[in-house]
């Protein structure tokens, strides 16, 4: 195999069930079987080095779960995740530690992702200590200072506590902390959804700058289509845990293949007042515990046929786009 062409991250048939059964006694009394929630349903995608892969989808579609699966905060029920040819699940010891280090995550809530009792310097230094990336206290301090300056803060902020910072600044601290592990790959779970637009712009710009500087690879999660469009090279659309469409960003916006993707795009508010008519999304997302049969989107789909109700769609490739829909050709 050609080393250069190998994707940095390869996710294959990733599935994650959560056991959401009632307590044993209730199940016995109410004669209910165990029930599982399928948060991620046979998802496969690849992310190449240096590119940004985005995941979009409504709330509850499994975006965060995929993020956690990749960084091993949640263990998959089946499927495999390979990072640079290695799997976290099977590696041990130093190799495991090293893999961990190379994948870091930025969380949605800049208020909850920083321990309020720790001064910023220690927050940023924690990965350095944990992974043994510095030899002396002085070196740690220097690194922390550099990182803080890199994300637009001052080295002297290290002694302050998180509550003395605004949301945007905190997200910068979180980024600095993630960077302190010297990762190749950053999972960003809605990193700006808690921020104001003006601050969001700062963070998005910073992320792009850092990507240019360090050659970082991003898995970028968002529900805001315009942000996704701005950031991503490739986009995956999730619906009820399944990846219904996976396309290059340009292509997805220009030429959506899956009816759900189309629906999402139609629902984007027209904040630029271009006169585009906005369509409200019909219906509500079904329960992932008891998902519809066949194509899970069929109850909300205008094109659904009998086949959609019973058979799960296979992934087909159309013009470089991988899409899971029986009626894909009709839509085009």
């Amino acid at each position: 195999m050609n080393q250069a062409k190998r994707p940095l991250l390869e996710v294959k048939d990733l599935t994650c069930h959560f056991d959401v059964s009632k307590p044993l006694l209730n199940r016995i009394l109410e004669r209910e079987p165990k029930s599982f929630l399928t948060a991620v349903d046979e998802v496969s995608f690849e992310v190449n080095k240096g590119e940004t892969f985005a995941l979009v989808g409504e709330s509850g579609s499994g975006k965060s779960t995929i993020a956690k699966l990749i960084v091993d905060l949640v263990h998959p029920s089946s499927g495999k995740i390979e990072f640079d040819g290695q799997s976290l699940a099977t590696s041990r010891g130093q190799a495991f530690k090293n893999l961990r280090r190379r994948m870091q995550m930025i969380f949605q809530d800049p208020f909850a992702s920083l321990n309020p009792r720790w001064p910023v310097g220690e927050l940023v230094a924690e990965p350095i200590y944990a992974f043994g990336l510095a030899k002396s206290r002085a070196e740690v301090n220097r690194t922390v200072e550099e990182l803080l300056e890199k994300v637009g803060l001052s080295g002297r902020d290290a002694a302050k506590f998180p509550h003395e910072f605004s949301g945007g600044q905190r997200q910068r601290i979180a980024i600095a902390r993630a960077l302190s592990a010297q990762p190749d790959f950053l999972v960003c779970d809605e990193p700006t959804s808690a921020l104001d637009v003006s601050v969001q712009a700062q963070i998005l710009n910073l992320m792009k700058d850092l990507q240019d500087e360090f050659g970082l690879t991003y898995l970028f999660i968002s529900h805001d289509m315009s942000v996704v469009k701005h950031m991503a090279d490739r986009i995956g659309v999730l619906y009820l845990g399944a990846l219904v469409e996976n396309a290059a960003a340009e292509e997805l916006f220009k030429n959506p293949k899956h009816p759900y993707t189309r629906m999402l795009l139609d629902a984007i508010p027209d904040h630029e007042m271009t006169g585009r008519k906005r369509q409200a999304i019909k219906g509500e997302i079904p329960s992932p515990i008891d998902p519809p049969s066949g194509c899970t989107f069929h109850p909300r789909c205008a094109l659904a046929t009998g086949e959609c109700k019973v058979k799960r769609p296979e992934v087909v490739v159309r013009e470089g786009t991988r899409v899971a829909c029986w009626e894909v050709d009709r839509l085009a």
């Binding site: 956690k68 960084v71 905060l73 530690k97 961990r100 280090r101 994948m103 870091q104 995550m105 969380f107 949605q108 809530d109 909850a112 992702s113 920083l114 321990n115 309020p116 009792r117 924690e126 990965p127 944990a130 992974f131 001052s154 002297r156 902020d157 002694a159 302050k160 509550h163 003395e164 979180a174 902390r177 592990a181």
Partner: protein, 318 residues
């Protein structure tokens, strides 16, 4: 709004820790409440006086050999009918100087109170953290034990443990063991509160992203519990601890009053009150009133502090 620096100051200047305390909202709120300040002063006063008892007390009431029985029942500030000795707050039935006895008694009460609270807190926090963080059957087991325990009022548990240990410990050790038995029984009757509070805070904290972030760095769970979660759940613990201290002191005195606490040769405030109680109607009011007042002031001050702390640490009340 911690930052109160005016714009002329260097915004990056870091305050030393005492400056931080003095500038904190907590301290500001504290300094604005005379009652709270007063109770803090009283608490500190009683604590330090009892710590220094061997140096400031005029007598050593715990040494029976140093007592002169003839000094018994001396009223405050009046000479004894037989010996002519004058005592500040009078003496009790054994000729013990009440003032010294209060100092030493408060020492026993505070020792029992602090140790019992410490014991309960450490036990409760540990179990609460583990139950909350690990979940699953560990959680179930710990919390069911807590439920069973909660089915018994503290006083009953304490009485029971006291009763059992008393019959298990050899007699010659009992006098010394009494204090430890008290600590054990009060502590054991009290851990549930800590466990429950810490557990629920832990449940909330463990889902916060900073914990997940720490896991990403490969931090092991005991370390996450200790370094990350523990500091964030200490607020409520502090509040329960303070109020618990007052309760423990009262419980100790109640047990001593019921005759199952520390022995009369090493009286705690409760024992002093119990002993003095017998003489209340006979006119020797000072034997019970002075220790009673001390107990009241101590418990009240600690309670006031706890009360204030609870409000002050509750972000929604601010």
């Amino acid at each position: 709004m911690t930052k109160t620096t005016t714009s002329s100051q260097d915004p990056y200047q870091v305050e030393p820790w005492w400056q931080r305390i003095l500038n904190s909202d907590l301290f500001y709120d504290f300094s604005r409440r005379p009652v709270v300040v007063l109770s803090a002063v009283m608490t500190l006063l009683i604590i330090s006086a009892s710590m220094l008892a061997p140096w400031i007390a005029p007598h050593t009431p715990f040494d029976p050999a140093s007592l002169n029985l003839m000094d018994g029942f001396t009223p405050p500030m009046e000479p004894n009918a037989f010996t002519g000795n004058v005592y500040w707050l009078g003496t009790d039935s054994q000729g013990r100087d009440i003032f010294s006895a209060i100092l030493y008694g408060a020492r026993v009460s505070l020792l029992v109170g602090f140790a019992a609270v410490g014991f309960a807190a450490i036990l409760g926090i540990t179990l609460g953290l583990i139950a909350g963080y690990k979940g699953g059957w560990i959680d179930t087991v710990i919390m069911r034990i807590a439920d069973v325990q909660l089915s018994f009022p503290a006083i009953l548990i304490a009485l029971l443990i006291f009763g059992i240990t008393k019959s298990l410990i050899p007699r010659e050790l009992q006098e010394q063991a009494a204090v430890y038995v008290l600590i054990l029984s009060i502590g054991l009757s009290d851990w549930v509160q800590y466990a429950r509070t810490v557990r629920s805070s832990t449940l909330a904290e463990k889902n916060k992203e900073y914990v997940q972030a720490a896991r990403l760095f490969g931090v092991t769970w005991p370390r996450i519990l200790l370094r990350h979660i523990l500091p964030n759940v200490m607020g409520p613990v502090l509040v329960i601890g303070t109020i618990g201290l007052a309760l423990a002191i009262i419980l100790e005195s109640t047990l001593s009053f019921l005759g199952v606490g520390v022995p009369a040769t090493q009286p705690s405030l409760g024992t002093l009150i119990r002993v003095g109680n017998e003489y209340l109607f006979s006119g020797e009011w000072w034997i019970t009133i002075f220790p009673g007042l001390t107990l009241l002031v101590l418990a009240l001050s600690v309670n006031l502090l706890g009360d204030w702390l609870r409000d002050a640490l509750n972000p929604r009340l601010r």
